[in-house]
Symmetry: C2
Subunit: 479 residues, 2 copies
């Protein structure tokens, strides 16, 4: 394990085995068996590849096989040397990644009723995380080490509830296990003032747990940022597989898609100054003190010149998706809260993503104005029910940092999935590794004409590139 | 025309011919000819049907033919007597409707360059509006009379720009026509501080004009509400057809869909306490003074009892889509800003729609707390390019108030479109009238078992029901 750690560190991302003992694993796996098409044994490769920008030599690394049932500690590694693409933003790969099998032991019996002996006592989830750091690698490193622990912490209260097919109780007693709390009538309030009570699903409890875990992670970074050198911030794209459902949580500009039978199913959307313009502008409008007299919440299509005062300029406010003309007044000469387009779009002329973890110290350039109030740590969580569809070995969930997606469209990824996987036998586990390699190297391009070029002669990605390929079906699903 | 007005008033909605002289029409139509498939002459019926709840007898009225080119003043009317459905909320139909052909004369030559003589000087748009009033009919009545004028006003500055195929100027001189302003370099700022300037489309200018028109309409209602008895508020669903594109603007819980070759294309979404929960909660969180100490911005799945203090209850805050448990504290006993489900969802226990016009006097029941700050007058605007598809006479845009959609799904509407239109010859203009009738009467149901029942024996709609059917293709599109 020590060697694995070293290899992981050298490759620029972290791998940890954490928490459960083998005994706990087997108990949790008996409780919540994966569908056979998802983890048909230990032969399924879950592949992570990462390319750092700006290094003369860089390691592209893959997690060969993630443990399937009964194969907990058998992590296989290999390192694959690559070369740097054109100059990036930092000396080191700021991407971090993590995949884990996490066991969650219930905090307590929520209803106070003694557990049935036949029931297991914990839950197990599979976890993958991609963390694209900026302005330093500290936040990404910390998130890759701790976010799944926060998710585990949030799920602890739900272990029993999630395993109970009846609807979740709306209200729980304050002191579980104490005298009197074993009365089941405590679980649902005796009366309702409204004509009805809302139905809350098990699924929405898991979503809430993941959302709050992101917030607790962010708060921990805020608390510990001085003691632990948590520099910068990071985008976080996380997958949790629990009780037959895949939860994809995204805060930032990474992206996840499912390629199923050639069809593309988007599993995330990006959070950027452009996609979140109206949320940002509304905040600036409602809390003008956050703009510090330096910025205007209005958007303009270009910078206004002082001599244009009194002329009429196109603008958008927080309520508009279209544009209109307004007479330019003095305060319109302030820098816009949101400006620029595409990869050059910025909040407060500084940051190009609007959700993620960290960034507690981020200030406007040559100013003391904090940017963090405009950033959200909350992910959007999408749920995919793996049991609703018979998956074949060519169906995969692809996670990638923006280094991949900046130069590769969803359709191109789907085409690569088809091309690479069809070149291998369905039960060859190395096919997913080859796919992840193909995606990363395809986004980097090949050296030509004084730069790294894609087949269409455009420049390859200059950013760090990290990809997870997670097969949704496996050889076991073939009869 | 006087008789038409009377007939319209009796039918519970308004019709006005306003503004242009015939000469202006012909000039504008020469400028912006409709595609022949859209208005193949004057034979295309644009049908509006409305059913009021709670009246013993009610008029279902239809605008038989809206003027096509060269047929400006030939509005044909008929009245069709119906019967009331089960008890509704008010004595009169609070729905209002309006359809117009509106001519927009340019306010001035924006560039200062003299107009070319060959060019027309104005623009023409076709307009349909459905206004679903609540707490009184004043706002709906006012909006049906004035909103299109506000749109015209906003478009006046754009007449020349929209007819110029080059990209819209980002900046306009302050004093058009004045000495010096004829220098075209005024149209685009001489320098740009950002590396690029944003591209703004003609389409987004029209969207911006419609958005601002809604705001000006709402502000006018606020100004004039005492003098003109503008009671209540209204949802507004508006269609603008201009220069080959259909703009559908929706603020409220009405709905528009296109049925094209049997396929359903949603052209709006509803704005309710459920769909806008996070916007409302964020506002309550950022501006707690708007909650007046009476409400909490947190959502709970049911009302909390005082004796449940200290227990743990499911909740959602403004950042969450999932649910989690929290310990109940004293301030959680306040009434939630958003509560209830479906048609019973309410903001501040009062109103079930979150966007629309008016409601400036709306207060929380038995309180002086205003609700208007939580309501938005801004529509979402969707654009449909009519020139991108060859439309047949069975392709229609259907607008309906919630009275229709509460009991009729999109698929059921599409099935009715198919069933009714296929029973008529493609060039029979009465087919669209029959379709609108079928939709309205289908949503009302038939009297049976002490109530108005749908074919599936469920209750018919108890609300006012209004429907526009707008054909997108016509007999002229058949060879």
């Amino acid at each position: 394990m020590g060697e694995l750690r070293q290899a992981g560190a050298a490759a620029g991302f972290s791998v940890r085995r954490w928490g459960p003992t083998p005994r706990q694993y087997s108990s949790c796996l008996a409780l919540s068996p994966f569908p056979s098409s998802f983890w048909p044994g230990s032969q399924v490769a879950v592949t992570f590849l990462s390319l750092a920008s700006r290094l003369e030599r860089v390691c592209v690394s893959k997690v060969g096989v993630i443990p399937g049932p009964g194969l907990v500690s058998n992590l296989m590694w290999s390192l694959w040397p690559g070369r740097v693409i054109n100059a990036g933003k930092s000396r080191h790969n700021e991407d971090q990644a993590c995949c884990e099998v996490v066991y969650v032991e219930g905090r307590r019996s929520v209803s106070g009723v003694p557990r049935e002996p036949s029931r297991g006592q914990g839950l197990c989830f599979y976890y993958w995380g991609l963390f694209d750091g900026h302005a330093g690698g500290g936040a990404a490193e910390m998130a890759s080490r701790l976010l799944h622990r926060h998710i585990r912490e949030q799920l602890k209260d739900l272990v029993e509830i999630l395993q109970d097919p009846s609807p979740p109780p709306l209200c729980l007693p304050s002191t579980p296990g104490a005298a009197g709390s074993s009365d089941p009538s405590h679980l649902v309030g005796p009366q309702s003032c409204w004509s009805s009570q809302k139905e809350v699903t098990h699924e929405s409890l898991v979503v809430g747990a993941i959302e709050n875990a992101f917030q607790f992670m962010d708060e921990q970074m805020a608390r510990e940022r001085r003691g632990h050198q948590v520099e910068g911030g990071c985008c976080a794209l996380v997958v949790v597989y629990l009780l037959g459902k895949v939860y994809v949580a995204n805060a930032g500009d990474s992206r996840a898609i499912i390629v199923r039978n050639g069809e593309i199913i988007p599993m995330s959307r990006e959070f950027t100054p452009e996609t979140e313009r109206q949320r940002l502008q509304l905040l600036g409008f409602l809390k003008p003190e956050l703009l510090g007299g330096e910025f205007t919440h209005l958007e303009f299509p270009r910078r206004i010149q002082p001599k244009e005062l009194g002329q009429r300029m196109l603008y958008r406010d927080q309520n508009m998706t279209g544009w209109a003309y307004k007479k330019i007044e003095l305060e319109d000469l302030r820098f816009p809260l949101v400006c620029g387009e595409g990869k050059k779009a910025r909040v407060m002329a500084t940051i190009g993503v609007t959700r993620g973890l960290g960034d507690h110290n981020l200030k406007v350039c040559s100013s003391t104005l904090p940017i963090k109030p405009f950033l959200s740590c909350f992910p959007e969580v999408r749920v995919y029910d793996l049991t609703q569809y018979e998956h074949c070995p060519d169906d995969v969930l692809v996670l990638g940092t923006d280094g991949l997606w900046d130069v590769t469209s969803d359709c191109e990824v789907a085409a690569t999935v088809d091309r690479v996987l069809s070149a291998y036998e369905p039960n060859d586990p190395s096919r997913y590794t080859a796919l992840a390699q193909a995606l990363v190297l395809g986004a980097r391009g090949t050296p030509r004409d004084r730069g790294w070029r894609l087949p269409n002669n455009k420049l390859g990605s200059g950013d760090d590139i990290s990809v997870f390929v997670i097969p949704l079906g496996g050889p076991g699903s073939y009869s």
